[in-house]
């Protein structure tokens, strides 16, 4: 087979493999559910599997986008699941105390309280990581463990059910026939992309991730950048928390956002961001999160027996991660897809010294396989 330059450019694009996997997963559904791709109008809004995937995947996309920036600085944030639970718990318990749960002012105030709590969690994480020099995995573990306790304290260990139409809009409502959460996600992703790719911010984040000390020496305020990404990540998790609680009109301190941190990290990795930091791809993360949500939906629609759910999931994840590894592709398919590992890097140009670039791109495939 001849490889035209265009084909080579396509297969070496960093989003090529995640998109291939996503398309394959979607197609797998068709034999089981012939009208899988059909979208119809029901009660004045669109309804169908594709809409469900985006709707239920929205919180994961948000959390994963925040996680991408944290991982780009070489950190990791395990506390996002707990932040999801805290935000949902605070917001819903405030709304449930109102005499008129649908009053707009009350709902906005409740959302404000919830997001403020999320920002405080982010500041705490950033403070521990950037100021105190604690390993990110340990620093964020504190809120991961303690935060869920806080959420349960807020909800008194109960599931708080609310009945507020405006609040329901965020995660379960529709606007212009589409789920409202799609617009929220689009806005957050757009703002993130503009901030990181149209300003120097993305470059700074990558350089901090490449080498924090070197960045500091050239005059970048590494610590401030780090604190910023943790706050941003927590804020994204907070919005996801609003969405999850709004979707079911209930706050469940025990289960809301449980293990979402792991799914988010997986989405980031599938999207081609290196866990070592130094480069990132927001587009890849969004695709990665959609892959995970599609996988979950696929399991439900094709009727994988409950007991083998996790095995099925694991098998797909292993295949995806292997496909993402240029070294593996070189071995499995010969030179066609695999040569020049990491030649394209992230969508952003590596902002660090050449030696550092070589190190990250070489080590990245290893991390992605593991």
């Amino acid at each position: 087979m001849t490889t035209t330059p265009r084909w080579r450019a396509l297969t070496h694009h960093n989003l090529f493999w995640p998109v291939v996997v996503l398309v394959v997963l979607l197609l797998v559904n068709v034999p089981f559910t012939p009208d899988f791709f059909s979208i119809r109008m029901t009660n004045g809004h669109l309804h169908g599997s594709l809409v469900s995937i985006v709707l239920f995947g929205s919180p994961l996309i948000l959390v994963a986008v925040g996680m991408t920036l944290v991982i780009a600085t070489g950190g990791i944030d395990l506390s996002v699941g707990a932040v999801v639970a805290i935000t949902g718990a605070l917001t819903c318990s405030y709304i449930s105390d109102q005499s008129d749960q649908s009053a707009l002012s009350g709902v906005f105030f409740a959302i404000g309280i919830g997001l403020l709590a999320a920002v405080v969690c982010g500041l705490w994480n950033g403070f521990l990581v950037a100021r105190m020099g604690i390993q990110p995995i340990i620093a964020t573990l504190i809120i991961m463990v303690a935060g869920r306790g806080v959420a349960q304290l807020v909800t008194d260990g109960q599931i708080i059910t609310i009945n507020s139409e405006p609040y329901k809009l965020i995660g379960g409502g529709y606007w212009l026939t589409l789920p409202f959460s799609i617009f929220v996600v689009a806005a957050v992703v757009a703002v993130t992309v503009v901030l990181t790719r149209k300003t120097a911010l993305g470059l700074l984040v990558e350089s901090v991730g490449g080498n924090a000390e070197a960045s500091r020496l050239v005059g970048i305020r590494s610590r401030r950048i780090k604190i910023m990404v943790y706050v941003f990540c927590a804020l994204c998790a907070g919005i996801a928390g609003l969405m999850i609680s709004s979707n079911t009109s209930a706050a469940d301190g025990n289960n809301a956002g449980l293990w979402i941190e792991l799914d988010a990290i997986l989405a980031v990795v599938i999207g081609g961001t290196s866990l070592l930091g130094g480069r990132f791809s927001i587009g890849g993360t969004v695709i990665g999160a959609l892959v995970i949500q599609t996988l979950t939906t696929t399991i439900y629609t094709i009727g994988v027996p409950t007991q083998t759910n996790l095995v099925f999931k694991a098998a797909v994840v292993i295949v995806v991660c292997l496909l993402q590894s240029p070294k593996f592709r070189a071995k499995a398919f010969g030179g066609r897809f695999g040569n020049k590992p990491g030649a394209k890097g992230g969508t952003g140009q590596p902002a660090v010294a050449p030696a550092q670039t070589a190190k990250t791109t070489e080590a990245a495939p290893k991390m992605e396989v593991s």
Binding site: H47, S49, I134, I142, G157, I159, I244, N247, A250, T306
Partner: protein, 336 residues
């Protein structure tokens, strides 16, 4: 960097203080429950709870505390926070304090032989609540006070017969099942009991067309049901292993433009307050109760065991089934 060590200590301190605060909250309950009661030497009961993972569990805890107070027993309450090692050390503590009876809801099924033998050696009787254990020596515990999950599955199938009759449904019935957490006893046994009745009496007309875990949560129930409706748009009946998954599924059914309780008949297990609210709105057709309020029954058994009377190996919790027309009436009495 210099003060990393100091800071870590401080961080651990903060975490520990948080833990203490939680403990203090727990203590309030137990100290109030030890006051009051009749004269003479009070019976002391050591109770180790699984944790506080759900509304059902908190209702269970409150019931035990309240009925111990009512019976005039001194209650030593300990929360294991979902960890077996906490529970084992709590039981050792009860043995050291020489309580009269030990009761506990085991976090997991196995690994209790050693600590139960210690209790037996000190002649302290052990009563299990809610969940059972697997042990090589049956004499290690006196009795189990708890629900029969398999029977709940059977009752769900029986009440579904009534629901179908009331709805005037004729012919084949396509059933979707929302299972609990994979591997959890209630999930396995509720599915088993339901299938038992189905295989015995409805081999030809009932069929479970889809079955998937919703992890006992609303979000899980909603997401799975949305997918079910896509792959099997002609589902007649939903059997959910708990109310919360059923409530989530109702939202998915409504989003798909169908009427829960009419287009799709819904039977759930548990009987929490929100489940009854949904049933009174006509969205759930029937609820099979799984009663967490086993405190009074437990105290009765504790007294009998203390007095040396023989009790049954398994004392089943008193439970009822509710159809839609009973929902409004029963709603105000739901405590959890």
């Amino acid at each position: 960097m210099l003060n990393r060590r100091n800071f870590l200590t401080a961080a651990v301190g903060v975490a520990a203080a948080g833990g203490l605060a939680a403990c203090a909250k727990e203590d309030e309950g137990s100290s109030t429950s030890s006051s009051g009661g009749s004269g003479g030497k009070k019976l002391t009961l050591g109770f180790s709870q699984v944790g506080s993972e759900s509304g059902w569990r908190s209702a269970n805890t409150d019931s035990v505390k309240a009925s111990a107070k009512e019976a005039g027993y001194k209650l030593q309450f300990s929360d294991a926070q979902q960890k077996q090692e906490n529970q084992i050390s709590a039981i050792r503590g009860f043995i050291a304090q020489k309580v009269d009876v030990i009761a506990f809801s085991p976090v997991v099924v196995t690994g209790w032989d050693a600590v139960l033998k210690e209790a037996k050696a000190k002649k302290i009787p052990v009563v299990l609540t809610d969940r059972s254990v697997e042990t090589s020596d049956e004499s290690l515990y006196v009795t189990l006070v708890g629900s029969d999950f398999t029977d709940e599955g059977r009752r769900a199938a029986r009440i579904l017969e009534k629901v179908l009759e009331k709805a005037g449904h004729k012919g084949a019935v396509k059933i979707a099942q929302l299972e609990g957490t994979t591997g959890a006893a209630p999930a396995i046994e509720r599915a088993k009991g339901f299938k038992e009745v189905m295989d015995a009496d409805h081999k030809d007309d009932w069929k479970i067309v889809v079955s998937q875990t919703g992890d006992f949560t609303r979000a899980g129930g909603k997401q799975v049901m949305a997918a079910f409706l896509q792959s099997n748009p002609d589902i007649d009946v939903l059997f959910a292993h708990n109310d919360d998954m059923g409530i989530g599924a109702i939202q998915a059914i409504e989003a798909a433009g169908k009427k829960p309780g009419k287009d799709i008949l819904i039977v759930t297990v548990d009987g929490v307050k929100d489940g009854f609210v949904a049933m009174s709105e006509g969205k759930i057709n029937a609820i099979v109760e799984c009663n967490p309020l086993l405190g009074p029954q437990l105290m009765e058994v504790v007294q009998k065991v203390k007095d040396g009377e023989t009790v049954e190996r398994w004392i089943k919790t008193k439970e009822s089934d509710f159809m839609q027309d009973q929902a409004k009436e029963a709603l105000p009495t739901r405590k959890y």
